[in-house]
Amino acid sequence: MGVSGDADPSFALTPSGNLRRRLAVSRALVAATVLAAGVAVGVLIILVYFVAQRGASRLSLGFLTKALPLVSFGAVSGGIGPAIAGTVEIVLISTVIALPVGVLAAIYLTEFATARVAKPVETVLEVLSGLPTIIAGIFVSALLVTQSAYAAGVALAIVQVPLIARTSAESLRRVPEALGEAADALGIARWRTLTGIILPTAAGGIVTATILAIARAAGETAPVLFTSSAFGTPYQLNPTQQVPNLPVEIYNLANSQDPAAIADAWGAAFLLIVLILLANVGARLWLRHSERKRGL
């Protein structure tokens, strides 16, 4: 066939009959997968555009620094300064708790635990990472009773720990075993190997996990809704008190009947979405950069 170049009527080069049908089915379904990917990317673009269209014009120095007016009906004034400061504060508290706990748990899993002990700990992390965030909220509100920035930090830490621990463990596992074995062969103490060789090699993944966990915590509403529900207050940074924060602010402003308040919600949502998407892009680039540098 085709060797002599003669046209063989029983083997046409253009599909016909059954083959044509099969190819048509195949092309249609391949096109459907492309369409599905297009829909997902399209939805992302529409979401970001919709928020940007309503929120971008709201951004100004005053909006980013001033507090919300007590009564804003009709007047476009005030801003989300206290909420930004509060979000930074509670995410800081939460990361300070979650980063060491998460990384230590990851080190335990990959470096010390036997398979029998590692399994239940991994299950715990899996359950925690699937835990509905609203349960983290009601848990902390039952545990600490009074609302405060600390309570919100603890609730967000419950969201962050499994993220940090699982990604860190993944990146610790990817450190070539030869590195640790070489250090052992040189008689280097375990803690020096860990802190001096294994952790720095895995640092790219751990930093990425932390950035993603910070971005995640900054946008979480359910854990802070019952632990720091202050809304529309002036600047308030005392961590033993409730602090206003962006997600709760958006949540409350969105339910308002006042067009000015809804405009403020869009402004805050735009700021939040831009920061979170930038953090995600940044974390990805950082991971790629550090993995290339480490030759992983």
Partner: protein, 339 residues
Amino acid sequence: MSGWWWPLRGYSARVDPASSAAALAGRTRLTRLNRVDRVASRALRWLALLGALIVSLGLLAIVYQVITGASLALHRFGPGFVGRQQWSPATNQFGALTLLYGTLVTSVFGVAIAAVLGVAIGLFLSLMAPRRVAAVVGPLVEMLAAIPSVVLGLVGIYLIAPFALHNIEAPLHRAFGFIPLFGPPGTVGNSDFTASLVLVIMVVPIIAALTRDIFLTVPRELRDGAEALGATRWEMIRGVVLSTTPSGVVVACILGFGRAIGEAIAVTQVIGNITQVSANLFARGDTLASLIANQFLTPVSALHTASMFYLGMVLFTLELSTILLARYVSRNFGRRQWA
């Protein structure tokens, strides 16, 4: 490589040949450095164990607190709480049935749509797209999962709900109104259906990412072999890729379902917050998580609060069962050996 790093700085210079020789000879006189190293290594080990313990005890504390919080409702209603339909704070009557129903309807419907989209995207990213296209589209799809639920809910109120009302709910009701599922829509688009659409956006990136990774594990030789035998692209996918990874696809959908049932904020913003069991997909409703989000800060009685903790218990049990189910499926039906 990390010579600047303090644990290793000047370390090799301090190794004492005499003590090494002593150690080799079986004598156990330790240098000061040896002793520091031993304490530090042990301390690090204990610290790491502490981290793992905090995580594990944390989960136990969550379970304990939620059960304790629910104790009042547990005594009052017992296990029958799950089957009680009424949720009325005014008369102190509480039951989980309507909310369980709302949770299952919105999640099942949302995951059904998300599964089709997600698996298609997984196929596109793993088998269809040129590498450069996949490297851009993949992260973009995952970005969908990064959008905070409160922002998604805000867009849900002002874009998705009106869109669903005018372009999907109303036409479907006009055309298929005789089916109870497509009953009369509300006035602003707050409904179980709208909540499902919001959940689709949250679940698609999860299913897409998980299935992509699974499809990538199918050996290239098998795929090439099928195409060399004359299979079309789709026949190759159906015959080689999908038929060898059904458990992975099911697990991805189960995990997506687990994500969907737990979502509180975005759902509470668009579902309408009414505790009723209605076959009508376009009617307002409520879910376990969204009711907690909506009423937890304004309880009318201690029993009301306890009942919400009970709802949390039900939600946690559901979540735990999805994880166990996912494990069971991947353990018993996964890990197919490549011939």
